[in-house]
């Protein structure tokens, strides 16, 4: 069992998210960085749908009450096992009584903690373990982890330490131009490409709010249509919002772009004050990038299989 001693600002149970229920108003939820989760589950030979604890910023402490192997992935939040530094995308083993801490971010915002076999006392609802914070279901009672929470797992014997390469997080993020660019103005695309965007503190798991640009202020509404994580909305204020996993299923702001799927993982690490560049790209290049990420995962799976046979 893993006991939550200090949950930090926001720790939640998340897996790959809920699919196929947006027509009922149900958000995807799930990890913001699916690659970090897949790498972790690969290193532990877990099923792909095994859930992680998504840690935000750090300032957390967990105690292991039974032996297990575990992986931390995502941002480097200055993690330590019994005060000895440990690193993202490595598999470690813990004994009963071991203490795992995430001090504070060295770089990035979100880290993932996964144990071998996954947690066994979490709620799987509507096909996913993910915590839907807005609607209040999934994970542990539909809420963020709090002090004293106990997460069960099946104990396992110690394995040797092994690591995988986690692709770096970038601040240059690619998007495919959206359907309502021209409604705002002829320059919208060049403004998006040429501006250094700052991440506002009001950003959360629903969306990343960016600093504004005077040329993007407008007075247009569109007929409410379906939206999804990665969609870039432009409210009248001229401050773009990049939707993330907890976003609503429909929206009435003009859509000026969609972040390519391969770059969604970079969004997981953007915190208040970070500066990013947006760059328009083509569908063909987006597809190539997706294949590259998948190839990286496949390579790791193959390498581990050979090593551990």
């Amino acid at each position: 069992m893993l006991e939550v001693i200090k949950p930090g600002p926001l720790s939640t149970i998340q897996d790959i998210g809920r699919q196929g229920l947006r027509h009922l108003g149900v958000s995807a939820a799930g990890v913001i960085d699916p690659v970090a989760l897949k790498l972790s589950n690969t290193l532990l030979s877990n099923n792909d749908d095994t859930a992680a604890i998504e840690v935000t910023i750090g300032l957390c402490e967990f105690h292991f009450h039974a032996p297990t192997n575990f992986v931390i992935a995502g941002a480097d939040l200055n993690a330590a096992l019994n005060d000895e530094a440990i690193y993202p995308c490595w598999r470690y083993s813990a004994k009963a009584g071991d203490k795992l801490t995430f001090k504070q971010n060295r770089d990035g915002l979100r880290a993932y903690l996964v144990v071998e076999g996954g947690f066994t006392n979490i709620d799987k609802l509507l096909g996913s373990y993910s915590t839907d914070l807005m609607a209040g279901f999934g994970g542990i009672g539909g809420r963020a982890l709090k002090q004293g929470d106990k997460l069960s797992y099946t104990p396992s014997t110690a394995k040797s330490s092994v690591g995988g390469l986690q692709p770096s997080y970038e601040k240059l993020i690619h998007f495919i131009p959206g359907p309502h660019l021209e409604i705002i103005s002829k320059q919208t695309l060049s403004v998006l490409n040429d501006t250094i965007w700052k991440v506002n503190p009001s950003s959360n798991r629903m969306g990343i709010r960016l600093s504004g640009h005077s040329n993007l202020v407008h007075a247009h509404n569109i007929a409410t249509q379906a939206v999804h994580p990665g969609v870039i909305q432009l409210p009248p204020s001229g401050e773009p919002i990049i939707l993330l996993n907890d976003c609503q299923t429909t929206g009435g702001y003009p859509i000026i772009g969609t972040i390519i799927r391969a770059d969604m993982r970079h969004l997981s690490q953007l915190g208040a004050g970070d500066c990013i560049h947006l760059k328009s790209t083509s569908l063909t290049d987006a597809t190539k990038e997706s294949h590259r990420v998948q190839a990286h995962l496949n390579q790791l799976r193959l390498a581990l299989k050979n090593k551990e046979q």
Binding site: R22, L24, F137, Q225, T249
Partner: protein
């Protein structure tokens, strides 16, 4: 007649926008529900999400995007609108007093007696045009013109679960407690959204809803 345009939003979402032409006979939404049914039955989509005048279909395999856009354009006029058989729901509603904190003010604003307001609201069949905002929050079209008024300028932070509300050309029921800017006229005990049940949402896109007045 109705016309349709398709585009790809991102890598795997096909947006189908319907625009009504002046000589339109069959309602555009019925055609969109028929489109949803047809796309759902193909097995090629993760999800098909209706909205105000569009349907967004999320592809399992993005490589099929071009083929599907062509298929939709070609098939749009041939959709069997009559084949969509919506489920009918009767929702018990407690109007006014502690159940609808805006009831008295709204009756005043609309220059209706309480009885007229209730009769107007419970005298029509509404249709679930789409679901958004919250899990199970259905946008019900068909609100009588005499009951239409803009949303509150400032939303309140706690709308009670089960609240029956109106705003713009819609009525709705809040499936859970949440912030909200609609005018609250009543409340129901019916469970609208339950993540423990397989269908999750009582109301599905296209369903028909009738409110039935109850008194306690």
């Amino acid at each position: 007649m109705s016309d349709v345009s398709c585009y790809l939003l991102g890598e795997q979402a096909i947006v189908i926008n319907a625009t009504c032409l002046p000589d339109s006979k069959s309602p555009i939404n019925q055609r969109l529900f028929a489109l949803k049914k047809w796309l759902d039955s193909s097995g090629d989509f993760i999800d098909v999400v209706p909205a105000k005048s569009s349907v967004t279909a999320y592809l399992k395999d993005p490589r099929k995007a071009d083929a599907w856009q062509h298929k939709i354009q070609a098939h749009w006029q041939d959709l069997e609108v009559a084949e969509v058989k919506p489920t009918h729901h009767r929702i018990e509603a407690f109007y006014g007093k502690e159940f609808g904190q805006d009831f008295a003010r709204i009756a005043d604003e609309l220059q209706l007696t309480p009885k007229q307001l209730i009769e107007l609201h419970s005298s029509v069949d509404y249709q679930v045009q789409f679901i958004g905002f919250l899990p199970g929050f259905a946008y019900l079209t068909g609100l009588p013109t005499a009951l239409q008024l803009p949303r509150k300028s400032t939303p309140i932070t706690k709308v009670p679960k089960g609240s029956i509300a109106i705003a713009d050309s819609y009525s709705a029921i809040y499936p859970s407690q949440s912030p909200g800017g609609w005018h609250l006229i009543g409340q129901t005990n019916t469970t609208l959204f339950d993540p423990n049940s397989a269908s999750a949402s009582l109301l599905q896109p296209g369903d028909i809803v009738r409110f039935v007045e109850k008194s306690c």
